[in-house]
């Protein structure tokens, strides 16, 4: 809805984009008109590295139902993964907040 509302999640990780792997520190998350997905509104996520200027991104545009399914599966995968690899997951380094 042309809202300009963006939720920012601070991350520690990597993403693979057109130029190969890059570190990422931020996900810009929004629900608005998509650029590519054939939907009126989509949940968009742009994975970027603000520390590196944020000019490259790995992007997804998902339907609202897909996004909820993905969010549930992320939590489910973490839950089962932590059972299998509990110590490793719990001792993973915490995201470093951006300056």
């Amino acid at each position: 809805m042309c809202s300009y509302i963006v939720e920012k999640a601070k991350l520690l990780g990597s993403a693979k984009g057109p130029s190969g792997w890059m570190r990422i520190d931020t996900a810009n998350v929004y629900y608005d008109h998509p650029f590519h997905a054939p939907l009126d509104h989509a949940l968009g996520i742009d994975f970027i590295s603000e520390a590196d200027g944020g000019r490259e991104r790995v992007a997804v545009e998902l339907s609202a139902a897909s996004a909820r399914e993905l969010a549930a599966k992320i939590l489910a995968a973490l839950a089962t993964g932590e059972v299998e690899h509990g110590k490793a997951a719990r001792h993973a380094p915490a995201p470093v907040p951006a300056e």
């Binding site: 809805m1 042309c2 809202s3 300009y4 963006v6 920012k8 810009n28 929004y30 608005d32 008109h33 998509p34 650029f35 590519h36 054939p38 939907l39 009126d40 968009g44 742009d46 970027i48 944020g54 000019r55 490259e56 991104r57 992007a59």
Partner: protein
Amino acid sequence: MTYESMLAETVAFRGHKGDVGEAYYARPLGGGPWPGIVLIHHMPGWDEWIKEATRKLAHHGLATIAPHLYFREGPGSPDDVGARVRAAGGVADEQVLGDVAGSMEFLRAQPYANGRVGVIGFCSGGRHTYLAACSLDGIDAAVDCWGGNVIVDDPKQLNAKRPVAPIDLTAKLRCPLLGLFGNDDENPNRDQVNRTEAVLKKLGKTYEFHRYDGAGHAFFNAARPAYRPEQALDGWNKVFAFFRKHLATAAAARAA
């Protein structure tokens, strides 16, 4: 048989503060003279549909320029550039107005221009159109297609980039305004459209509002499920008739 032709290409234009950016420009070939149109793109950016709409207006005898309002965040593909702009909270109204004014200068500088200029915008560009029609000299007709946030009910939505609710500038509206809206739209919703019309009426402005049942936001956009062919066809015809009435000399007659 009538010979039809147009030229559609990327051009450079001088926008806000003299910054030089890119624009998509489509115009009928032949002698003219042609009215000019500034097409203000929607929030997702300078995408394929915006370029289609630019060519459609040219097909109807209107030399149309669609400035890439996000060019300062380039280089890059329009979607990546648009993502950067979104993350930065959008573009400033003042900058958009400067880019629209620069686009108008581009149009009037063409040898085949008839000197009259209209503005049309979609979605956030509809809001920008309303703003431009209330702020810039030299606009002869304006078309707001479902521009949201013309009325700002929550003052927290105002910020340094968007400091004023366009509705509060309505007294300064200086050209005829056409508004097209879907009755199922949530931004602007029916109540907001009604309130906008009430202000226009109270201030004695020249306007036409058309509301469409069975349509929501962006119902012209054939790339989205929101597309409503019947309402879009009627809406486009209203756009062409409005521009013919307020801008045309002999233009637009060709494809009518």
